[in-house]
């Protein structure tokens, strides 16, 4: 799975995710990527793209939950994403997310996740493991 989230200087947010799915998946299987609120979501608070075991991401409504936790608990993007990823059984999910204020987070509970990010203040990161 691949994905990207972005926010501009005006706080406009967008999320995109694309995938081939699981190796040896049944023909006709739908994963989390195209399910709004599971593998992909964006609203006025944040944009989220997830990766991992689709069935668990769908059950966890992972991407929407990040936005909901921000909205209803009033916490930061980083706290919300960490909480949601922590609710999924270990070894099954990762996500990238940005907030309308330019906050970035890339939590995962797998061994690694191929990921990269950058912000306007000059910070950038390319990483695989913790």
């Amino acid at each position: 799975t691949v994905g990207c989230v972005a926010v501009d200087n005006e706080g406009n947010l967008a999320s995109a995710t694309s995938t081939g799915g699981l190796v040896n998946k049944m023909v006709g299987r739908i994963g989390d990527t195209p399910i709004i609120g599971a593998g992909t979501y964006a609203n006025h608070l944040c944009a989220v793209s997830a990766t991992g075991k689709g069935e668990l991401i769908i059950r966890g409504t992972v991407a929407r939950d990040v936005a909901a936790v921000m909205e209803f608990k009033g916490v930061s993007l980083k706290e919300a994403a960490a909480y949601v990823v922590g609710q999924v059984p270990p070894g099954n999910v990762g996500l990238v997310a940005v907030s309308s204020t330019g906050e970035v987070t890339m939590p995962f509970n797998t061994t690694g996740m191929f990921r990269a990010c950058a912000t306007e203040d000059g910070y950038s990161e390319i990483a695989i493991w913790d």
Partner: protein
């Protein structure tokens, strides 16, 4: 407040011993895609354009599980999926079951912008892609030798695998013992 971008190329059981011939192309791909996204944001492109542009680049990179390099179904076919969403309007588009569309993410955006619907799948999605003039190719374009091997190993173990999965040690032959970051057996 300023612009920000984040992207991923999949998660899983990626061993710390990942060989450089498998790690470096992926890191280079991430760096390239990040640069593409940064340039687009600096050029004041809308985030919808930015994420579509970046995901297209990732889809075209054969080392990631999307577009060219997509993993295979039990039948040895590709069935690609994609989704795009705009935060301000909550407009979104999604597609599933694609086997010939080069960039699934662009079809998802076309669904968002040119239909009254959110989600198209399989034959209907393929027909819509042709109607809209999106680039299509023979399904063999998406299939890599590595993914044929991964499917074979997954079927031998009767397992499905996420993007990166270490081999099951008890079922690994001695010659296969070095983790390479790709799904091997499950």
């Amino acid at each position: 407040m300023g612009w920000a971008i984040a992207l991923h190329g999949g998660a899983g059981d990626i061993p710390l011993s990942l060989p450089s011939d498998r790690r470096l192309p992926r890191e280079a791909g991430l760096r390239h895609c990040l640069d593409v996204g940064i340039a687009a944001l600096k050029a004041h492109k809308h985030p919808l354009d930015v994420v579509e542009l970046v995901v297209r680049e990732l889809e075209n990179h054969p080392h990631f599980n999307a577009g060219k390099g997509s993993v295979l179904t039990t039948s040895g076919t590709v069935e690609m999926e994609a989704c795009i969403m705009d935060g301000k309007t909550k407009k979104c588009g999604a597609v599933s079951g694609l086997s010939t569309v080069v960039n699934a993410i662009s079809l998802a955006r076309t669904v968002m912008e040119k239909t009254p619907h959110i989600y198209l799948a399989f034959d209907g999605a393929e027909a819509f892609a042709r109607e809209q003039g999106l680039e299509t190719v023979d399904p063999s374009y998406f299939v890599t030798p590595e993914n044929i091997e991964r499917l074979k190993q997954a079927q031998e173990a009767n397992r499905v695998q996420i993007d990166y999965t270490q081999p099951i040690q008890k079922e690994v032959k001695k010659d296969d013992a070095i983790g390479d970051g790709d799904s091997q057996i499950g």
